[in-house]
Amino acid sequence: MAHALILACGNPLRGDDAVALQIADTLQIGHSWPDMKVEAAHQLLPEMAEAISEAEIVIFIDASATAAPGSVLFEPILPSHLTPETFTHDLNPRALLALAQALYGKSPAHAFTLNVGAESFELREGLSETVSASIPEAVHTILEYLTHHFSLARYKTPTLIA
C-alpha cells in the first residue's frame, strides 16, 4: 500500500503538456521513498481509482492551460460527482476521487492538485524555458508537503536544477 500516490498526467509530444511527466521523473530518480509511488500516464483513467483508494495522500500533477506560464499551484481538492459522460478522454481528479469512493468505499484523506502553468501545447518534444524552470519549485512543493506531513527527516533536501 502506497501512503502517498503521485499521479502525473501529460503528453510528451505536446510541448509543456509533458511538464508533469518530467516532475514525476525527477521525483522518481532523485527522491525515491518506499512509501511514495509515482505513476505517469497520458490521461486519468477509471482504473486508477483502485490505487487511489488505497493511498493516504494523492497528488495529481498536470499542466494548466489557464494558469500563468511557469506558475506552480498546489491546492487541496475534494471528490466531485460532476463528471463527464465518457470517462475516457476527460476524467478529472475530483471525479476520480469520487469514483474511488464509489467503487472501493474509500478515498485518500488528503488529495491535492499540483498544476504548472503551460506556455505552449504545440506538437513538439521538450518544455519551454519558462516551464522547465518551474520544475524544481514543483518538486520542492511536493516534497515539502510530504516531509511536513509524515515528519520524515530522511528526505533529501531537494536539489534545484540549474
Partner: protein, 474 residues
C-alpha cells in the same frame, strides 16, 4: 416544408461526429447522415519514412486500440521482410491482441453503454455514466472496471506500458515472456472470468427490457465479414476472410486477406471524411456489410473455448439465420471478452510459451506488404508499398469502423424514423439515435486517423437545407 435535425456532437463515442436528420414535408425523417468531421492523414504523412517505423507510428492512430494497429502494421512489415515469425512470438502477439479485445470491449460495454442498458434510454442525463451504474448495480460497475484493468495490465506487463507499447516489432516481439509475468497474469484470470460471466447473466436478464431497441437499432439484412480460422473458429490474429449473408449462408469463403482489394471497394461521400467500404461483387451501396463482434459471431458456429462456445450457441438461437440487430453487438462483446480470457489462459499454459525464440530477422525482401487482424471493432487492414531503400511510398488503411460506415448510416436512419417525430427533439430520442452508433462502438479517431476532443452534434434540416434545430453536447 421539410426540415433537418442535426445531432452535433454525438456523445460517448471514440471520435468526433455529427448526425444530420433530413425531414420531409410531412415532418417525417427521410434521410440520415453520419458525418465524421475530423481528418488526420496518417496514410499521407508516413510516406518517406522507413517501413520499420510503421508499427510504432501507426499505433499512434489510437489510444484505445493501439495494439491492433501495432499488430496489423507489424504483420505488414513481416510481409515486407518475407519472414514467418516464430510460433511463440505469434502466440504472444495473439495474447496481447486478446488483452486489448478485453479492455476495449469492457470500455465500450461498461463505461459507454451500460448506463443506457441499466438505467434506461430515458433516464436522467446526469446519471447516465459510471457513477449512475455504480449506484444502481455496484457489482456490474466494479466488474467493468476490473475487466478493463485486466486487459490493460496484461498489455502493460507484456509491452511495458498500457498505451502505445512498442513490444511488437517486425519479425516477432522484442522480449520473451518471463515466468513471473505469466504467473501474474494467470492469477488474474479467475476474477476476470467471474466478472464476465456475472455480466453476461445480468445482460441476458435485462435484454427483454430493450425489445424496442433490438427491433429498431440497425436491425436489417446485410452481409457480415471477418477472419475465420482454418478450423472454423473465431480468429483475431490470423485466418481467411469470410462473407456471410443475412440468412447466415456463406457467400464467399477462404479469401486471402492480402487480396482485400479484389473484393472490397471503397466509396467516398461528400459529407464525411470516413470512407464507405462495400463488397465489390454486389456494388455500392448494395454491398453493405458489417464487421466486429456481431459479425464475428455470425460467421462461426463456435468460438473455440468451452464457456464461450456455450454462450455462442445460446446467442445464435436469437434468430434463425444471422443475428441482425446491431443492439446485439453488446451481447457479442461480452461473449468475446469471455472467449479472450479463456484463450489467454490456454496460451499461458502452453509448455513452450517462455521460449526465447521470439523474433525472425531479415532485411527487406518484398516491396509490398499487407497485414490483417481483427481489432475490437472489426477487421483491420494495413497495406504498405516501399521502395528499394525500405522507405514508404504509400499506405492504405481500412479500419474496422470504416467497414461499418454504411451500416451505421442505415442504422441511424432506421432508428430516427422510429424515434424522431417532428421538429421537437427530446433527450430520449436523441440518446436512442446516438445509442445506435454506440452499438457499433465506432472509433472515429481510428477511422479518419484523427486526433482531438470528441463531441457530437445533431442537426435538423429542412429539404432546402435550412437549419431548424440543433442539439450539441461537448
Amino acid at each position: 416544408m421539410g426540415q433537418k435535425i442535426v445531432i452535433d456532437p454525438v456523445t460517448r463515442l471514440e471520435g468526433h461526429g455529427k448526425i444530420t436528420l433530413q425531414l420531409d414535408d410531412q415532418g417525417e425523417v427521410s434521410e440520415a447522415y453520419f458525418h465524421v468531421t475530423q481528418l488526420r492523414g496518417f496514410e499521407k504523412f508516413c510516406e518517406g519514412r522507413p517501413f520499420y517505423e510503421m508499427p510504432n507510428l501507426m499505433a499512434r492512430i489510437c489510444g484505445i486500440c493501439p495494439v491492433s494497429h501495432l499488430i496489423a502494421s507489424a504483420k505488414a512489415c513481416d510481409a515486407l521482410l518475407a519472414v514467418r515469425i516464430p510460433p511463440v512470438a505469434k502466440r504472444l502477439r495473439q495474447m496481447m491482441n486478446l488483452a486489448q479485445i478485453v479492455q476495449s470491449h469492457a470500455l465500450s460495454f461498461f463505461y459507454l453503454s451500460s448506463p443506457d442498458l441499466l438505467l434506461g434510454m430515458d433516464s436522467e442525463v446526469a446519471k447516465r455514466n459510471l457513477f449512475g451504474v455504480m449506484e444502481a448495480n455496484p457489482e456490474l460497475g466494479l466488474g467493468g472496471v476490473r475487466l478493463r484493468q485486466f486487459g490493460q495490465q496484461i498489455i502493460e506487463l507484456l509491452g511495458g506500458k498500457r498505451i502505445h507499447p512498442g513490444w511488437i516489432v517486425p519479425g516477432g516481439v522484442n522480449e520473451p515472456l518471463s515466468a513471473d509475468k505469466r504467473d501474474r497474469i494467470l492469477k488474474m484470470v479467475p476474477e476476470a472470468l467471474a466478472a464476465t460471466r456475472q455480466s453476461l447473466t445480468w445482460f441476458k436478464r435485462i435484454i427483454e427490457n430493450h425489445r424496442e431497441e433490438i427491433r429498431t437499432f440497425a436491425n436489417f439484412p446485410s452481409l457480415f465479414m471477418g477472419l475465420v480460422s482454418p478450423d472454423e473458429r473465431l480468429a483475431f490474429y490470423e485466418g481467411d476472410i469470410r462473407f456471410t449473408d443475412a440468412r447466415g449462408k456463406i457467400l464467399a469463403d477462404k479469401l486471402d486477406p492480402a487480396r482485400y482489394s479484389d473484393y472490397i471497394g471503397e466509396a467516398v461521400e461528400p459529407y464525411s471524411y470516413m470512407k464507405f467500404p462495400y463488397y465489390k461483387p454486389m456494388g455500392y451501396p448494395k454491398g453493405i456489410y458489417r464487421v466486429g463482434p456481431l459479425a464475428r459471431l455470425n460467421l462461426v458456429d463456435r468460438c473455440g473455448t468451452p464457456l464461450a462456445d456455450q454462450e455462442c450457441a445460446e446467442f445464435r438461437q436469437l434468430e434463425r439465420g444471422a443475428v441482425l440487430s446491431s443492439f446485439h453487438y453488446h451481447y457479442a462483446r461480452l461473449i468475446e471478452i469471455l472467449f479472450s480470457i479463456e484463450r489467454i489462459e490456454t496460451i499461458l499454459n502452453e509448455p513452450d510459451i517462455l521460449s526465447p525464440h521470439i523474433r525472425a530477422s531479415a532485411s527487406l525482401n518484398e516491396l509490398e506488404g499487407v497485414g490483417v487482424a481483427e481489432a475490437p471493432r472489426g477487421t483491420l487492414i494495413h497495406h504498405y508499398h516501399v521502395n528499394e531503400e525500405g522507405l514508404m511510398t504509400s499506405a492504405n488503411l481500412i479500419i474496422a469502423t470504416g467497414h461499418n460506415n454504411l451500416a451505421m448510416n442505415r442504422g441511424i436512419l432506421q432508428a430516427a424514423k422510429h424515434f424522431v417525430r417532428g421538429k421537437e427533439l427530446n433527450e430520449g430520442m436523441l440518446n436512442r439515435v446516438e445509442a445506435v452508433i454506440r452499438c457499433f462502438d465506432p472509433c472515429l479517431s481510428c477511422s479518419t486517423h484523427a486526433m482531438g476532443k470528441m463531441p457530437l452534434i445533431v442537426e435538423l434540416r429542412a429539404p432546402d437545407g435550412a437549419l431548424l434545430n440543433e442539439l450539441r453536447r461537448n
